[in-house]
Symmetry: C2
Subunit: 320 residues, 2 copies
Amino acid sequence: MQLATSPFHHTVVVGAGAVGGFYGGMLVRAGHRVTLIARPLHVAAIARDGLQLDLAHASGVEAVALQASSDLSVLRDADLVLFCVKSTDTESLAKQMAPFLAPHAVVMSLQNGVENAADIAAHIAHAVIPAVVYVATEMPAPGYIKHHGRGDLVIGTMPLSRLQDPHHTLQQLVELFATAQVPVQISPDVMSELWFKLLINCVFNAISGLSQMPYAKLAELDSVRVLQHAVVHEVVAVAKADGVQLSEQTALQSVAKIPITMAHQKSSTAQDMARRKPSEIDHLNGFIVRRGQALGVATPVNQSLYALVKLVESGYSPDA
Amino acid sequence: MQLATSPFHHTVVVGAGAVGGFYGGMLVRAGHRVTLIARPLHVAAIARDGLQLDLAHASGVEAVALQASSDLSVLRDADLVLFCVKSTDTESLAKQMAPFLAPHAVVMSLQNGVENAADIAAHIAHAVIPAVVYVATEMPAPGYIKHHGRGDLVIGTMPLSRLQDPHHTLQQLVELFATAQVPVQISPDVMSELWFKLLINCVFNAISGLSQMPYAKLAELDSVRVLQHAVVHEVVAVAKADGVQLSEQTALQSVAKIPITMAHQKSSTAQDMARRKPSEIDHLNGFIVRRGQALGVATPVNQSLYALVKLVESGYSPDA
C-alpha cells in the first residue's frame, strides 16, 4: 500500500534507536517504504524477527517487516532522511552521510538539543528541518521498541532554511506522517520549541540519571524542586541572552506536570547511565553551560549537574 | 597497665563505628580502660574476636580485647565520653545518655559538622569539647576497623564552655591521647577548624557519593573542579555571614591536595550510599543551605548536591 500522493517514496532512518525505530515503524505500518540504518546487532534482529513494535494503548507486540542495514549507501535512494542519532554522534554521521545524499533529499533532525539541525547543515548542502520530538519510547532489546506514549512532532524551518518553498515541504511532511497516525504540527518558531524541550530535558534528565529515579520521585522532595527551579531560571536566562524568549511561568507549569503525566518514566540520560553508555549531557546541561559562558550568564546549577554526569561517565570503560 | 597519672579512668565510646572504634582501640592498646557502646552485631563480634585493628603502617591485624555493650547504663562509670555517632543520631543519643552521665564526666564530640557539640550540650549539663577528627578509617565488617591513615585531633572549647579550667582539661586530654600515640592539638578557635573541615566535607563528600568515585578521579575533570570551587565559595560566604573567617585561598589549596594525598579514598557519604544507609548530608551541604537561608546567602550549588543525595536516599527502604 504505497501512498501515491506522498512525494516521499523512500524514507531512510539514520540511527534507528528507540526514537528512529518508532517513527520508521509507524511509517511502515502505514504502507510507506522505509529503511532503518542501525548497528549490525539491531539489523540482524530486525532481519530475523522484524521490528517489534510494542505500542502504548495497543494490545500485544506487532512485528513490522522492514529493511534494515548498516550501510549508509542506501541513502542514495532516499528522498526523506529521519536523522535520529544521539547528539554526540551528529557531526560524525552527518559527515559520513554527506556523499550519499541525493540532491533532492530532505533531512529531518529528530533529536534533543538545539544545535543538531545546524550541525548537520554544516556538513551537507541539503535542507535540514528541525523536529521537536514528543515521544516516550525505549529500546530494551535489539529490534524491540517499547512505546510508552505520545509520538507527536513539531517541525519548522531553521534560520537560513535552504527549502525553496518551506510551507509546501512542511505541509507534505505533515501529510506523510498523518497517514501513519503521527500528529505533526508546523511551528513558526520551531527553535523556541526546541529550546523549550531542551529546558525540560535540562530539568529532568541529569537528576533522573544521577539518582536513577523516575519522575514521580523527583516531585516528592522540596530540595529537588528548588534545584529544578534553579535550572529553569538559568536556562531561561541563557535563552534570553541568546535571543529566545522562554516563559519561566509556562516552564514551571510544564515541570510540575511531568511527574504526574510520566510518573514512572526515567530520563534517557538515566537509561544511558544504567547501561554505562555516554549520555547526551554535553548537548543538554553542558550546552547551557557553554552558551552561558559565551553570553556572560552564570549557570552554576546546570554546571553542577553537568559535572556530576561527566564524572560518572568518566568511570565507564571505553568499549562499553 | 592503667596509667595512674591520667584523671580519666574509664572512657566510654558512644557510637563505636569506624571513628569511635579506632580511638577506643588506640586507648586500649595504651593500657586504658575503655568500653565501646555499639549495636549488638558489633558487640557480639568484639566479644568473640576482640576489636580487630588493621592499622595503617602496621603489618597485619591486631586483636584488641575490650569491653563492648549495647547498654547505655555503662556510662554511669565513665569520666570521659567519646561521642562518635553520626550527626543524624546526635540529638537522639544525647537525650538517651543524659540520665546516666556522672556529674564530673567530660564529653568529647568526635563528629563531622559544626553543630554537634552544641546539640549535645542542649541535652546535658556537662562540658562538651568539640574535636576535629583527621582520620581515614572504615569498618568493612562488624568489629573490624580498617585504618588508612592519620588519626590526629584538634580540640578546643565551644562558645560558653562549661569547663571550670578549660586549659587544664584540654591539656589532660592531650596527655591521655599522647600515651596512645594519638596527636592532639589544642586550638584557640576550634569552631573555625570545624568549619574548615565542614568545607572540605562539603566539597568532596556528596560528589564522591553521587559518583561513587575516589578523590583522584574528581580531580581529572575541569567541570568537577568548577563545581568544587563553587562549593568552596558558597561555604566561605556562609561562614563569613556566620562570623567565621575562612580563607578561600587556603581552602582551595587543601581541596587541590586531597586527590593526591587520598587518591584512592571515597568519602564517608560514598560509603553510606554504597550501603544504602542515610548519610550525614543534612549536616554537611544541607547545613550550609539552612545557614545560608537564615543568613541571606545564596547556596545554589550546595543545594543541588544536597537535593541529589536526598533524592537517592529517598529510594532506600526504611529498614536498610
